[in-house]
């Protein structure tokens, strides 16, 4: 197959994918989206005869727009632009998860400092303030007191982009010092790990320690539901343990898997390419 790899930085994840694709004899067109222009009826990027384009953009804004453009040109993208749009926006993702019946942390959104404060007071302390767009645990705030809430809300209202004035308030989930990341292809788990830390944030990007996690039927069912809720694709589904069950707090559409790759015997890149091959052949079969 001929695959376009959309990127602006080649991380270890992209190197693993590139290596796997090339070893299998697939033709890879690396497309640095920073170098290209995208018009209404065409692009400077070489997207001719691509069987699919794999979105690995580090920048969420680029990911959202470029997948939209390629979709408009008739190039199948992984993941689909709508999936990217839902996953990238925590409000939309929470709504999608809740709408699909997946357990997800209680969340409220408010648009002024005053109404956000009311929301926080209703949640009680601690609770969590998250940016609606963002990753790697950055700009997340665990709010332990009213004075902390006032300070963080004032900073968000004063310093940031308008998105920071969309106050996404969430219950604080007392997880057991870890969360679970499952990489899944159309809802089917590929491999999973726990991410543990003494800090309340357990993102791998924050330096948590990782360990392989055996996916239970309950987790697999939640992953399937969460994947379907955002439109499916190659995803990273994050869950927290709540004692007797789980809650799904995030779904990632340009999932990083190098940390997972380091702690499992599963060839994650290989499984991803297996799935891409199936996706490409399915797309080809339905094309006129």
């Amino acid at each position: 197959m001929r695959v376009g790899l959309l990127y602006s930085r080649i991380r270890k994840d992209e190197k693993l994918l590139l290596s796997e694709l090339r070893e299998r004899g697939h033709e890879v067109e690396k497309i640095d989206v920073r170098d290209e222009q995208f018009g209404l009826d065409g692009t400077t990027a070489n997207v001719d005869e691509l069987d699919l384009a794999l979105d690995r953009c580090l920048s969420t804004s680029r990911s959202l727009y470029v997948t939209r453009f390629l979709d408009a040109y008739g190039v199948p993208t992984v993941n689909a632009p709508e999936t990217a749009a839902v996953c990238a926006d925590k409000v939309r993702c929470s709504l999608a998860l809740a709408g699909a019946g997946a357990p997800t942390p209680r969340t409220e959104t408010a648009f002024t400092v005053e109404s956000a404060m009311e929301s926080i007071e209703r949640f009680g302390y601690p609770c969590v303030l998250k940016p609606v767009i963002g990753s790697w645990g950055r700009l997340m705030a665990k709010i332990d007191s009213k004075s902390a809430a006032e300070a963080v809300l004032e900073h968000k209202a004063t310093l940031g982009h308008y998105e920071h004035k969309v106050f996404y308030v969430q219950e604080f989930v007392e997880k057991p010092g870890r969360d679970i990341r499952v990489v899944a292809a159309d809802g089917e788990p590929v491999a999973a790990m726990t991410r543990s830390s003494d800090h309340w944030l357990t993102n791998a990007a924050q330096g948590s320690s990782v360990k392989e996690f055996e996916v239970t039927p309950e987790v697999a069912a939640l992953v399937e539901t969460a994947s379907a809720a955002v439109g499916g694709g190659l995803l990273g589904v994050d869950l927290m343990e709540t004692g007797d069950s789980y809650t799904v707090h995030e779904v990632n559409h340009t999932v990083e898997f190098k940390a997972l790759d380091s702690c499992t015997d599963v060839d994650v890149a290989g499984a991803a390419v297996d799935w891409l091959e199936g996706r490409a052949s399915a797309t080809t079969e339905v094309s006129p």
Partner: protein, 56 residues
């Protein structure tokens, strides 16, 4: 293993074999993150600073 000059401090930066355009290498001397902008010949430039919307 080949080397190339760091664009920030001028020190020699060691390069591994399977270098990819778009990859980041670190200068062991000054700590700068350097982006591979060409691989034939290898050309490095300062990598972009972290942006707010980066992630997964």
């Amino acid at each position: 293993m080949s080397t190339v000059e760091c664009v920030e401090c001028g020190a020699e930066v060691s390069l591994h074999e399977d270098l990819e355009v778009g990859e980041i290498v670190d200068c062991g001397t000054c700590g700068s993150e350097l982006e591979v902008i060409d691989d034939d010949p290898v050309t490095l430039d300062l990598a972009p600073e972290l942006e707010e919307d980066w992630g997964e």
